[in-house]
Symmetry: C2
Subunit: 321 residues, 2 copies
């Protein structure tokens, strides 16, 4: 994995420059509100996947489709801005959320502006028109499904009986399809054929799902001084994560953890979930998704970029914050 961190760093710099140029440097309150969360940092993982997928299909072509890479980050940010309103979250990436810093109407509009800009930037990519239309369609379908995923996620808040199948469908839509679109769009804009595009789409889908499962593990396992977030908040809130669902399947009672938890109590919960095999099962599911992702990549010729894509998958399920 040695090359991945420096690769991701260079993509982040490129995307950050584009964000400055196309968003931050614009005047007007609505433009400022639209740029706010986009400029607050982020690992720019989706743009990296767009670019790696493109280069894995046609070496060296990612420079032509930087606008599409930016479009994926902009789309991701639009969903965060709207989600923050729905969940009334106050902070994200260390800054006030848009509707908190401005107001709810401005938050809705800022998200809507980003939504439009994502499609404008896809159109600005230097690629064949038929590929661009497929890319537009892939992005639109992803947005459609992300909404469905967010709706499912919210509906889970009122339930205690979410099944593994329902959880996986929610995560596929809420997180998986945008990584799938990132890889699929990169491949199609690079001129990839149907088989290549489908393979990269499937790679992104599985890796994206694994990414979200790892997020659930991090919430439980990573201490706040490392993650910058509250530890075990999902457990405290009784959130229907894969950990919770697997624990229920095994007859564990996690209700006792639905309260403010001391570090010792968090450790006890981790111990209980480890001893019962829940954590191992969940890690196993994430690992299986990544290994399936790699299988999809095997139709591509070996290349530095194909390896970096595999490293991305590996990184998604080994990161601890």
């Amino acid at each position: 994995m040695s090359e991945l961190p420096s690769y991701l760093e260079s993509v982040a710099q490129t995307i950050d420059h584009m964000i400055d140029r196309y968003f931050v440097d614009k005047t007007g309150q609505l433009n400022k509100a639209s740029a706010h969360l986009l400029a607050a940092g982020g690992k720019r993982l989706r743009p990296a996947v767009v670019m790696l997928a493109a280069d894995a299909v046609k070496p060296g072509c990612s420079d032509d489709i930087l606008h599409a890479a930016l479009a994926l980050e902009v789309t991701h940010t639009f969903t965060l801005v709207h989600d923050d309103i729905m969940d009334d979250d106050k902070l994200r990436r260390g800054v006030q959320t848009v509707h908190t810093k401005w107001d709810m109407p401005t938050g809705i509009l800022a998200g809507d502006v980003l939504y439009a800009r994502a499609f404008e930037h896809i159109c600005m990519a230097n690629a064949a028109d038929d590929a661009k239309i497929r890319a537009v369609n892939m992005l639109a379908k992803a947005c459609d499904e992300i909404c469905e995923g967010q709706h499912m996620d919210m509906s889970f808040e009122h339930r205690t009986d979410v099944t593994e199948g329902e959880y996986m469908e929610m995560v596929r839509k809420k997180t998986g399809v945008l990584y799938a679109a990132a890889a699929g769009i990169g491949a199609t804009l690079a001129g990839g054929n149907g088989v290549q595009v489908k393979a990269l789409y499937s790679f992104g889908l599985n890796t994206g799902i694994a990414f979200q499962i790892q997020d659930d593990l991090i919430d439980l396992l990573t201490p706040p001084e490392k993650s910058g977030k509250d530890q075990a908040s999902d457990l405290r809130e009784g959130k229907q994560t894969l950990l919770m669902i697997k624990a229920r399947e095994k007859g564990l009672d996690l209700k006792k953890y639905q309260k403010d938890l001391t570090p010792a109590e968090i450790q006890a919960a981790i111990q209980e979930l480890t001893d019962s095999g829940v954590i191992g099962d969940v890690k196993g599911i994430a690992a299986a998704l990544v290994s399936d992702s790699n299988r999809h990549l095997s139709i591509l010729p070996a290349s530095k970029e194909r390896q970096l894509l595999m490293d991305v998958g590996e990184f998604f399920v080994t990161r601890s914050y």
Copy 2:
């Protein structure tokens, strides 16, 4: 204008059937919420403009681009769903607004689903790929500007000194650009050249602005039994419409009407605004926009559809509800 009502009726039937097929017949709460306002009726004027523009450029081609016509109605509806949340309006088209019937998060998501579907339907049009990309770009830019227009409109609520120039910019963005995109998208998907597309875009822009100015006149002049809406609500709320701005320019004091108004007081206001020439000035501005629209159409060969487009402009500024 004899053919226009029956033409609009036939377009509305076609679009209503597509709305049933692609929105109403879908299952799931989020799909139901997305279809709710779309299925509540409406004159389907933007789809009619898409189809007329297409046929005016290439006779008979509108059947190929019905999906793009639908996309414009879907886009319009997405903006209404989000606007209703921002303004916390409870009723529209005689039905509860989406966030009222469901809740605010579902309203945001329903609008976001419609937003995505608009782009999916543009992609489904039967047209050349380069034209479709131009159409996607035109639609995205329109959405971008509509947000800006809505933001300006909200900012006017806290002001009493909005100028005619600011008002016209707001209306251009909030209402004009979507009619412009409707006509421009119809023309481009029909294979129109740059001059034709630009002419139809300008036609739509001017007619759309005139449409909004007429809406302001209707608010003042049309009795509730005819309009189905409160009469003179803009006056009561001190809204910065073109009527209000022109009255201010002429030194009229309309503050006295910022209260619950009796029918007699509304008549007195109408009389004052008529006698001072305000209503005449505003009607003149709308009429000039429509006549300018027609000038743009003169580059097209004479056809039934070109005439119907002119009739649309005429209808926009002569309708009384």
